[in-house]
């Protein structure tokens, strides 16, 4: 909880700077790219986040990576600051919250679509339209496949879950039968 609160503070600080110079979108992308790098390379993440090594040594490693990157200078300095403050291990949380904040600014909402079979493009377009209508926001959907749904799909938007899967219908039918609701 405390770590999450601190991550939010750092994310808000970076966003504030990004809004001032108008590059908050680029900063968000840089941050997401670095968080993805940490996720894909856990050893690198362990080295720069391990307090057993000195700050100077860890900073050398970080700088070596940042010099090879095309990140904005502000983002590079932000990452160095996280390392100085021993918060570099929470960069993924910072990135996630930063994305959430930028989505709110851009009136974007993230949706997770789980489908039993691949969805056609025209179906995806229809879904974007209808989900945008009910949320009054631009929907950015991430699609995953899950055969256990049997058929249909499930859409999760924040706390809202819209379940149109065959599995859910079967579960509903099963519960009705168990309760003795035959009609």
């Amino acid at each position: 909880m405390t770590g999450s609160k601190i991550s939010k503070r750092y994310a808000k600080a970076l966003l504030s700077l990004g809004q001032e110079d108008g590059n908050y979108g680029e900063y968000g992308e840089n941050l997401k790219e670095f968080a993805g790098l940490c996720t894909d390379n856990p050893e690198f993440s362990k080295v720069i986040g391990n307090p057993v090594f000195s700050v100077e040594d860890r900073k050398k490693v970080l700088n070596a990576v940042l010099e090879e990157s095309a990140f904005a200078d502000l983002v590079k300095n932000f990452l160095r600051l996280l390392l100085d403050k021993n918060r570099i291990g929470g960069v993924e949380d910072v990135s996630a919250y930063y994305t959430q904040l930028t989505d709110e600014i851009s009136n974007i909402i993230r949706a997770e679509i789980v489908t039993a079979r691949p969805l056609k493009d025209e179906v995806m377009d229809k879904l974007d339209v209808v989900l945008s209508k009910i949320t009054s926001k631009t929907v950015k959907a991430k699609v995953e496949e899950d055969e256990s749904l049997i058929g249909g799909l499930v859409v999760k938007i924040g706390d809202l879950v819209l379940d149109g899967s065959v599995r859910a219908q079967l579960e509903g039918l099963k519960e009705s039968l168990k309760r003795g609701e035959n009609n």
């Binding site: 489908t115 039993a116 079979r117 969805l119 056609k120 179906v123 229809k126 879904l127 209808v130 989900l131 209508k133 009910i134 049997i150 058929g151 249909g152 799909l153 859409v155 819209l162 149109g164 065959v166 599995r167 079967l170 579960e171 039918l173 099963k174 039968l177 168990k178 003795g180």
Partner: protein, 199 residues
């Protein structure tokens, strides 16, 4: 000096006089009978009478002077008192006996009453125990009936759940085997329509 007072004294005096009269009469009779040595015989008789009279006087004096009469009188009174006391005690004992007999009779009555009461209470208790036992038996039977009913309901419900689970599993297998892209498109269209209705 000898005094003859009271009834006893008079009686003694009369007795003494009668005795003296009889002796004198006997002397005259003996004298009128005649004989040779009448003077000696009269003297002998006189001595004997005198001797006897002295003996009587001595006896009377001795009796008077000693406490023999008083002793016998006291003894008589004592015996009389004892007899009276014994009579009273006898009366008391008889009274006590009658009282005890009365009480014994009362006890017999009480005994009968107590026995009757105990018998009545015993009968009442018996009836109560039987009634309670019957009620308890009825309750146990009722509880057993309810338990059986619940068990049957539970078993029916469990069986129903199992049947539903198996039917759902079987339905899932059939649907999973039979579903195709067209069905998926139809399901997605239905989903989109239902979501549109939310707006």
């Amino acid at each position: 000096m000898i005094r003859f007072t009271g009834k006893k004294g008079q009686a003694s005096l009369i007795l003494g006089m009668a005795l003296l009269f009889l002796i004198t009469l006997c002397g005259f009779a003996f004298a009128s009978g005649g004989g040779g040595n009448s003077h000696d015989q009269m003297l002998n008789l006189f001595y004997r009478i005198l001797n006897f009279t002295l003996l009587v006087i001595i006896l009377v004096v001795v009796v008077k002077k000693t406490s023999m009469l008083r002793f016998f009188g006291e003894r008589r009174d004592e015996i009389k008192e004892k007899l009276e006391a014994l009579a009273k005690e006898r009366q008391t004992a008889e009274s006590r006996s009658r009282e005890l007999e009365t009480k014994l009779g009362e006890f017999e009555v009480q005994k009968k009453e107590i026995l009757e009461q105990f018998r009545a209470e015993g009968a009442k208790e018996k009836a109560l125990i039987i009634t309670e036992a019957r009620e308890r038996a009825a309750q146990l039977i009722s509880q057993a009936d309810h338990t059986i009913e619940r068990e049957i309901q539970g078993a029916t419900e469990r069986l129903k759940q199992e049947v539903v689970e198996m039917a759902a599993l079987r339905a899932e297998e059939i649907i999973a085997k039979g579903i195709n892209d067209s069905d998926q498109d139809h399901l997605v269209d239905e989903f989109i329509k239902s979501v549109e209705k939310l707006h």
